[in-house]
């Protein structure tokens, strides 16, 4: 039987006896092993997972995946880093506990860019995570394994985290939905911290409605995370009605217009053409879309502001990874040598470089120029967005410069060219804590590409509704990558 269904459809199959939860879990594990062999999407597979109770709850009895930076009690949680390669937490993240109450069954911990610090899926300690649409391409990062496994049809959803675009970009590269709700709607307690002021929990699914169902179950105020807030009056799934007539959207001219890219590749041209065609689908539904101009200095600063803030926060957050409190002890004659040995051998090159940058911008003599100025520009960018959200319901933008890049030749290095702003603009959503969702909107070079919708804080229902309406105008809902053989899905 084919289980590539939406959550509602699977729930119906479970409740009318067409399939049992145990059958779904075993099918999911079987596919997870096949996908792991090809894409290296998992750090841990929970082969002893068993089916669960099925109730009226839409999620009950369903298998799912957890990104490996969520603490899971009694289950290896490495953050895809050698520094925590044997770490088994004695508590679970609040988001995971919230989901447990819905009788969902985790079948694996998904591989990721080490501690979330990367966008390629090439820094996991278990190897490069590959795109199920084309194994020569990257899955994107950092929620690479979650995106690859959902796209390959292992289960209907997986958890992700997003500090810069780590849910929303891999979702685009893998042709699925990636949603990070407003900052603090989901507790971060138990999520390995990367950059606390930017970190968001969220999910990867194959439909907007599934994303609403999953986040409804993950969210809630948590006494262990003082930045979480009471969202009990927000019911995402129940609020989806697809009514968008009269909504006003905008896109940013300085990032989207083709004239910014005189040497554009054919893939970029096709991607931007496709973006404008997608906007017409919304216009058919009575949505207006305006081109808005924003100070280019602010747009050009996004990437550096993100690097300064995220590297600085990461340097501080991960100073406890010494091999003394967490992780295997290093070798050395004294404690400093032991810690240096552990950190030098344990962290990937990318993380080490980010730490050095973070340390530099935090040095007393540099703080004002780099760290504090980055915080100031963050405010200018967020204020500008909030000003636009007074007039518009949401920002709509293409994700990245096209489909997933090839792994060979890719470098997760800080570089800057005229497409940097197109690659990095989703970081705006993290600066302001804005709700933001990526959905697939077509194919370029036979590979999926995505479009992103971002709205004002606490207005998640509006953002999801626009995405829901747009999704219904396109044929990509619940699509999967043709990775496995037909019989693997039967």
């Amino acid at each position: 039987m084919n289980y590539i269904k939406t959550i509602e459809e699977l729930h119906e199959m479970l409740t009318n006896g067409e399939v049992t939860s145990e059958e779904l879990v075993q099918d999911s594990l079987k596919k997870a092993h096949l996908v792991n062999d090809k894409c290296h999407a998992f750090v841990t597979l929970l082969d002893d997972a068993k089916g669960g109770f099925v109730t009226d709850d839409l999620l009950s009895g369903l298998p799912y995946g957890i990104k490996d930076n969520y603490s899971t009690k009694g289950i290896l949680s490495t953050g895809s880093s050698n520094t925590l390669k044997d770490y088994v937490p004695f508590f679970s993240a609040t988001a995971v506990l919230n989901l447990e109450k819905h009788n969902v069954i985790p079948i694996g911990k998904t591989a990721m860019d080490e501690f979330g610090m990367g966008g390629t899926g090439t820094t996991a300690h278990t190897g490069n995570i590959l795109n199920p649409w084309d194994l020569k391409r990257m899955a994107g990062g950092s929620s690479s394994g979650s995106a690859a496994s959902v796209a390959a049809g292992v289960y209907p959803f997986a958890l992700g985290s997003d500090t810069g675009d780590s849910i929303r970009k891999p979702a685009a590269f893998c042709g699925i939905v990636g949603y990070k709700p407003t900052y603090g709607m989901i507790s971060r307690y138990g999520l390995f911290p990367f950059a606390s002021s930017l970190d968001h929990c969220g999910c990867l699914t194959r439909s907007v409605k599934d994303a609403a169902i999953v986040v409804d179950a993950m969210k809630g105020q948590d006494k262990n995370d003082l930045t979480s807030w009471d969202s009990s009056s927000i019911h995402l799934y129940d609020s989806l009605d697809g009514k968008v007539k009269g909504k006003k959207l905008f896109y940013i001219k300085e990032i989207v217009n083709m004239e910014n890219y005189p040497d554009a590749s054919s893939e970029l041209k096709e991607h931007l053409d496709n973006f404008h065609k997608t906007l017409k689908l919304l216009e058919e539904e009575g949505v207006s879309v305006d081109e808005v101009s924003i100070d280019r200095d602010l747009i050009n600063a996004i990437f550096s502001v993100y690097q300064c803030l995220s590297c600085a926060e990461a340097t501080s957050n991960m100073s406890n990874l010494t091999g003394i409190i967490f992780g295997p002890r290093g070798e050395g004659k004294n404690i400093n040598e032991m810690m240096k040995d552990h950190r030098t051998k344990g962290f990937s090159s990318l993380i080490k470089r980010r730490f050095v940058i973070g340390s530099y911008v935090l040095q007393k003599e540099n703080q004002e120029k780099y760290f504090v100025n980055a915080q100031r520009v963050r405010r200018l960018i967020v204020d500008k967005m909030n000003e636009l959200f007074q007039k518009y319901d949401a920002l709509i933008m293409p994700v990245s410069t096209g489909p997933a890049p090839y792994i060979d030749g890719s470098k997760d290095e800080i570089t800057k060219d005229n497409t940097t702003n197109l690659e990095e603009h989703l970081q705006i959503g993290n600066f302001g804590g804005f709700p933001s969702i990526t959905i697939p909107n077509g194919f370029v070079s036979n590979l999926p590409v995505g479009i992103n919708i971002t709205g004002k804080c606490y207005d998640d229902v509006n953002v999801l509704n626009i995405a829901y309406a747009l999704e219904s105008k396109m044929p990509y809902k619940n699509q999967i990558a043709p990775l496995l053989k037909e019989e693997d899905y039967e």
Partner: protein
């Protein structure tokens, strides 16, 4: 523009208790220059020094401390289950004071 040097990068890495290869050091120097270039532009934004730094994603929140109530703490056995070095119910750590 700042003058970034290999020695500066090595010194920062040393403070972080991280060892770098020469290639890693070179990459960081390139990355520093790119970030520095943009941050130079930021300093030219009019009245930038008068903008209040934004330290968090949401600055409209009010935080209420949780009630000061006694809670059950984590069991020592649970903690020791994930610990490589311990004696009885105590974790063994390397000597910190008193040299090597």
């Amino acid at each position: 523009m700042h003058n970034f040097t290999k020695e500066l990068v090595d010194d920062l890495a040393d403070k972080l208790l991280i060892g770098l290869t020469d290639d890693e050091n070179k990459l960081i120097l390139n990355e520093f220059n790119i970030i520095d270039e943009t941050m130079e532009l930021i300093t030219k934004i009019p009245n930038i020094s008068e903008v209040t730094p934004m330290t968090h994603a949401l600055d409209d929140q009010t935080y209420t401390p949780r009630a000061d109530e006694k809670e059950e703490s984590i069991k020592i056995e649970d903690i020791l289950a994930n610990c490589d070095f311990y004696e009885g119910r105590e974790i063994k750590v390397p000597k910190v004071v008193g040299g090597e």
